[in-house]
């Protein structure tokens, strides 16, 4: 059997353990515990957890709800804007299509497009705008007050463009293309039946 009694050496160890009284100072304990709390490693939760936690806070709930509300409003406004133009230009092809077809085959059509570069005043797209403007004004509904205002503004434009067309007639005549000048004149008479085109042509020839 072995002797279970502690050896004299072990009793010295025990004696020291029992009678040691030194302790770390209280201020050091407090400092270290505070430092440990302050510098406790931050364990970052996952993205989904953070999202759920944020959703549970009232101020974020309000923010998310506002954001969704704004997004819905924007979507609705965008859709409404997309739908508006559909009825506005619907009748236009009925008028402009035959004209374009007719003009494409004749030399008058070429002359309508060609002088744009020769004459300084009108923009290249102006002749087409001339044809589109009356068509548009015809398609205006009574309810579309706003559109009517726009067409009133555009009605000033034909006066200028008639002169341009008439100048083109004069140019064709001077160039010896009498037939083309007559065709253009006839087309203008059809488009602007109320205008005294002959008188205006004479005025322009004088100038």
């Amino acid at each position: 059997m072995t002797d279970a009694r502690p050896t004299p050496e072990d009793q010295v160890l025990k004696h020291y353990r029992e009678h040691a009284t030194s302790e770390p100072p209280a201020h050091l304990d407090a400092f270290l515990l505070a430092a440990a709390q302050r510098e406790v490693p931050v364990h970052k939760p996952g993205l989904w957890k953070r999202w759920v936690q944020a959703c549970q806070k009232p101020r974020w709930q309000v923010a998310f709800a506002s954001l969704v509300g704004v997004a819905l409003m924007l979507a609705l406004v965008q859709r409404t804007e997309e739908q508006l133009p559909s009825y506005d230009f619907a009748p236009a092809p009925e008028v402009s299509a035959p004209v374009a077809k007719k003009e494409a085959s004749s030399s008058v059509a070429r002359s309508l497009a060609a002088p744009a570069g020769a004459m300084s005043a009108p923009a290249p797209a102006a002749p087409m705008a001339d044809f589109a403007a009356p068509a548009q004004s015809e398609s205006i509904n009574a309810e579309m007050a706003d559109e009517a205002k726009v067409s009133k503004r555009s009605a000033i434009a034909p006066a200028k463009s008639i002169d341009n067309q008439l100048r083109e007639v004069i140019r064709l005549q001077k160039a010896g293309q009498a037939q083309a000048a007559a065709d253009l004149m006839a087309t203008l008479h059809k488009r602007f039946p109320k205008e005294n085109l002959t008188a205006r042509l004479k005025d322009l020839q004088k100038n």
Binding site: Q11, V12, P25, L28, L32, L33, Q37
Partner: protein, 188 residues
């Protein structure tokens, strides 16, 4: 029924994962032993406090864990020991833990000690401290690691990078000398 006590290593891991109170438990377990080890080894309370603070702060700020076979206790005392040695080096003090000491000569005088003297060992703190400081530094270190660090001999051998047999003999000589010094103090 009480819940099973968490190991030092699991408490450290919990603290590293953001559990602040885990550190408080760990600190409460080791504060006294570590402080007494440093005070006994350095012999100066100011130095002991400085190294004690550095040791805990480095543990708080570090992200490392005990490596290999070392457990938390060995690791903690290793950090403290290294800090103290660094301090000595900075101040141009020769490392007293590696002094050349003839253990055989110091052991001879204790062979005839009477075991009955154990009953009358001094309990006076100043005498206990004086006897401890009377030990050679390498014996004192082993004795303190055993008494206050509660490390076993193989852990002390690993920590001090000393052969196990040397550790055993240092501890034995330290205990014999302390017994003699304290008994003598009482008898005179």
């Amino acid at each position: 029924m009480s819940a099973p006590e968490s190991s030092d290593e699991s408490l450290l891991a919990r603290y590293r994962a953001g559990d602040g109170p885990a550190f408080e438990i760990l600190y409460a377990r080791h504060r006294q032993g570590l402080y007494r080890f440093l005070l006994g080894l350095s012999g100066k309370s100011e130095l002991a406090e400085e190294v004690y603070q550095d040791t805990w702060l480095s543990l708080i700020r570090s992200t490392s864990q005990p490596q290999g076979r070392a457990n938390f206790r060995t690791w903690l005392y290793q950090i403290a020991r290294n800090r103290l040695i660094d301090h000595w080096r900075k101040h141009g003090i020769h490392n007293p833990l590696h002094d050349s000491y003839d253990e055989q000569i110091h052991a001879l005088s204790d062979d005839a000690a009477d075991p009955e003297q154990l009953l009358s060992l001094s309990r006076d703190n100043q005498r206990l401290e004086a006897a401890l400081q009377n030990l050679p530094a390498d014996q004192r270190e082993v004795f303190l690691l055993r008494a206050h660090g509660d490390l076993d001999l193989s852990q002390i051998a690993t920590l001090t990078e000393t052969p196990l047999e040397t550790v055993k003999s240092r501890l034995r000589y330290a205990q014999q000398k302390l017994r003699r010094l304290l008994a003598e103090e009482v008898l005179t």
